[in-house]
């Protein structure tokens, strides 16, 4: 069965992570994605996790500084549904592929440019990478518990890059739906700042500028938000509890042998427990040291207290090789000509009627230059000429890069 986006053609002119990840998600959903890559390679190809955002794409390597290459993009854009990239402001215009230049050839295209700092404002001219948006939005401040006297902490999940990509999937798919209904394409933009803001979307200010209430903060040890909603170290391993109701809190305290805390009316609410952390946390911490996380998990399950062992996946290994995950399609494997057998996450979304994603390896630089061009109307002789003149790069058998690695 085809994916839900079968028949959608996407041109991906992005580099690094924030640009290419959204087209990869569109590819996972069944769209055909052609990655248009500089002949020297995506800036992330050799120094960072390139493979995390390229699977399933075809690769056409072009020297976009050449007018002939720009014309190739415009010709392909005539047939495309979506053009997506993360060039800094002004770059697309210099390369002849901005919204107006592209819509002159295909007025119905959905065109998405994702930025770093947004489209407007004094910093919109600048690029930027993930940690900067974790910084300005408050993620690093809260992750490290700076208000407790700690340093800020970078979250190693590439948060803002990834959220930016999902914001652009949201914008592109909304615009594609609108086009299905009305026939009209449009210009869409998102940014790392816009996408990252969703992580702190619960933060709001009251009219007097003070923060809206009820938002708990973390402790200095980074265990959690409340004695009833935090990690505890055990004799062996850590366990996260989420005893959010009074009944669960009482059961938690009884299970670890401190029933008097569960009966204390001052601790009957989440906020009451937060207020008493200085005295309650040490008591429960000591209680949890008495048994292993495995034993606590069984006892808390039996008492109806929501709790989970904090699992060390050893860098994702236990997740990627988990039989359940594999059987459910949560992991995907494919073979790459140089990297060999590869595994990463699989289906992020399951569809009952449209098929599951079909995933392929990340492409080599220029791996599909010839096949893409000939399919879209260039003759073999024209392609030979474009390659010879350095406008197109095609990976030769056995030497996939234009220089020795």
């Amino acid at each position: 069965m085809p994916g839900p986006l079968e028949g959608v053609l996407v041109l991906d002119l992005g580099q690094f992570l924030a640009g290419p990840y959204a087209p990869m998600i569109l590819s996972d959903l069944g769209a055909e994605v052609i990655k248009i890559e500089p002949t020297r390679g995506d800036s992330m190809r050799y120094g960072a996790p390139f493979i995390g955002c390229q699977r399933g794409k075809q690769d056409l390597a072009l020297d976009l500084k050449r007018p002939e290459a720009q014309e190739i993009v415009l010709k392909l854009a005539e047939r495309a549904d979506v053009l997506h990239h993360n060039m800094t402001k002004g770059t697309a215009t210099r390369l002849g592929v901005d919204y107006h230049q592209v819509t002159a050839r295909n007025p119905e295209i959905v065109y998405c440019n994702t930025y770093a700092y947004g489209y407007d404002g004094p910093m919109s001219i600048s690029g930027g990478i993930d940690p900067l948006y974790q910084a300005v939005l408050g993620l690093e401040y809260e992750a490290g518990a700076v208000d407790q006297g700690n340093p800020p902490m970078y979250l190693r999940f590439g948060m803002a890059d990834t959220a930016n990509a999902f914001a652009s999937v949201l914008g592109v798919l909304s615009a594609l739906y609108h086009r299905k209904v009305t026939g009209q394409g449009q210009d869409v933009w998102t940014s790392l700042l816009n996408g990252g803001a969703m992580f702190v979307s619960e933060v709001a200010l009251l009219a007097d500028g003070s923060p809206a209430p009820r938002r708990p903060s973390m402790d200095k040890e980074l265990t959690g938000l409340s004695p009833c909603y935090r990690l505890y170290r055990t004799q062996e391993g850590w366990i996260q509890v989420a005893a959010t109701t009074q009944a669960q809190w009482a059961a938690l305290c009884a299970t670890v042998g401190r029933p008097e805390l569960g009966a204390d009316t001052a601790l009957a609410t989440f906020d009451g427990r937060v207020a008493a952390r200085a005295t309650v946390d040490p008591v429960l911490e000591m209680a949890f040291e008495a048994r292993t996380a495995q034993v606590w998990q069984a006892l808390l399950d039996g008492a109806g207290v929501p709790a989970e062992i904090a699992v060390d996946t050893r860098g994702g290994e236990t997740v990627l090789h988990d039989a359940d995950n594999r059987a459910l399609g949560l992991t995907a494997s494919y073979d790459h000509p140089m990297m060999g057998h590869m595994t990463q996450f699989g289906n992020l979304i399951d569809f009952s009627d449209s098929g599951p994603g079909t995933y392929g390896p990340p492409p080599l630089l220029g791996e599909h230059s010839r096949s893409v061009l000939t399919r879209f109307g260039w003759s073999e002789g024209e392609v030979d000429d474009l390659i010879e003149r350095g406008i197109v790069y095609q990976a030769a058998e056995g030497t996939p890069y234009p220089w020795p690695i």
Binding site: P4, A116, L132, Y141, D187, A207, P211, T343, S352
Partner: protein, 385 residues
């Protein structure tokens, strides 16, 4: 509403974070969202995010456990394009509202589920609080804390992945429906929400010596970008010296008034690199952050202040890009909140209204379905609405 999803009606039965936030993104692209709440209201109305995550929709109270409530709900389904639910597995089936039952009646309906774990997963029946999925998925161990062991993540990674997956899945299914004429079941989960953020770090590659095969290194603590964090005067922090694709006109050191490092030595001599790092830190801690940010930006050196979530509202780029919206919440009054994350030129995203009061639109929505005043009074008397 005139957004790209104008004419799309969504019934939102979800609670928690991922469901309401994913639905919010669709609501502010123009979908007509009806929040279906149990008598007494969604228990997550007390959550700090409720004024934001529950805005841009109408609210109807329906007791789905009563026959008349279910009957009214089925009438609503007949008018809907999308249903979103976030219950634990089996809950909808127990109400007689499983995907199979509704698909038989409403073949065009897109039925979206966002539980904690995917159906069929060994953890599917385990409790689904965000922090529990953080623990079970390995996200907490992936983020080393200041002490040995896992870190609780204040930012709710599982939910913050699943909200985007939910919105993307619904949109893809809407797209497919235009081709096939049929709705379908779209399912994602908080667990898959975590996976969405592992693309840089969880890869298994057979030939580790191949070019392109790098995965982001795990460094303690807590990641590669931690090294560009510096403390300035007055306990303020910033990132500095980050690559932003601009040509720098001078070095960071020249602005800080210290000597540039020997470019060859800093690449090969670890002790020298550590000493230089100490010189940098000693220089930063005496300097005013705002002053440095300005000078670095002028010079094309990537940097930003590390702000608290509240301070972030004063970051100029947010206002420049209209990312902050004013919303008149029924409980808190006028609030500054984050607006929609994607900007569409022809069909602008917009906030459709503040969070509704529980059941604010019960009578008007049911009246649209043909219930008259007498019928509505009866439903109210029996606690159905």
């Amino acid at each position: 509403m005139s957004g790209p999803l104008a004419g799309v009606r969504i019934l939102d039965l979800s609670w928690g974070v991922a469901g309401p936030l994913g639905v919010l993104m669709l609501a502010e692209q123009g979908a007509d969202v009806i929040k279906v709440e149990p008598p007494g209201g969604d228990p997550f109305r007390d959550a700090p995010g409720s004024p934001v995550w529950h805005r841009s929709r109408r609210s109807v109270v329906l007791d789905l456990k009563q026959e008349e409530g279910k009957e009214a709900f089925l009438k609503l389904c007949a008018t809907a394009d999308v249903l979103v639910e976030a219950f634990s597995p089996g809950t909808m089936a127990a109400l007689g509202l499983s995907y199979d039952e509704l698909a038989a009646k409403f073949p065009r309906l897109i039925y979206a589920s966002v539980p904690a774990y995917p159906e069929g997963h060994r953890n599917a029946s385990r409790p689904g609080w965000d922090a529990l999925v953080q623990a079970r998925s390995g996200a907490q161990y992936e983020q080393p804390a200041w002490r040995p062991g896992p870190a609780h993540l204040h930012m709710q990674i599982p939910s913050m992945g699943a909200c985007f997956l939910l919105a993307s899945g619904v949109l893809a299914a809407l797209h497919a429906r235009e081709n096939t004429g049929r709705g379908q079941h779209v399912a994602t989960s908080l667990y898959q929400g975590v996976l969405a953020y592992t693309t840089m770090i969880w890869q298994d590659v057979e030939n580790l010596n191949a070019p392109d095969s790098l995965v982001m290194a795990k460094t303690y603590p807590p990641g590669v970008h931690q090294v560009s964090i510096y403390e300035c005067a007055n306990g303020e922090w910033m990132h500095a010296g980050v690559t932003v694709g601009r040509e720098a006109t001078c070095t960071m050191e020249s602005i800080l008034g210290i000597e540039d490092p020997d470019p060859a030595r800093i690449m090969t001599d670890l002790a020298y690199r550590a000493e230089h790092g100490q010189r940098l830190r000693a220089a930063f801690i005496t300097r005013d952050r705002a002053d440095l940010v300005e000078q670095f930006f002028e010079a094309g050196i990537g940097c930003d202040p590390i702000l608290s979530p509240t301070q972030a509202f004063d970051y100029p780029q947010l206002r420049s890009n209209n990312m902050i919206v004013e919303v008149d919440d029924p409980e808190f009054g006028l609030m500054s909140q984050y607006g929609p994350p994607a900007v569409l030129s022809r069909t602008p995203s917009e906030v459709a209204g503040p969070r509704p009061v529980t059941g604010q639109h019960s009578r008007s929505i049911l009246a649209e379905l043909g219930y008259d005043d007498a019928a509505l009074d009866r439903l109210a008397a029996s606690g159905v609405i």
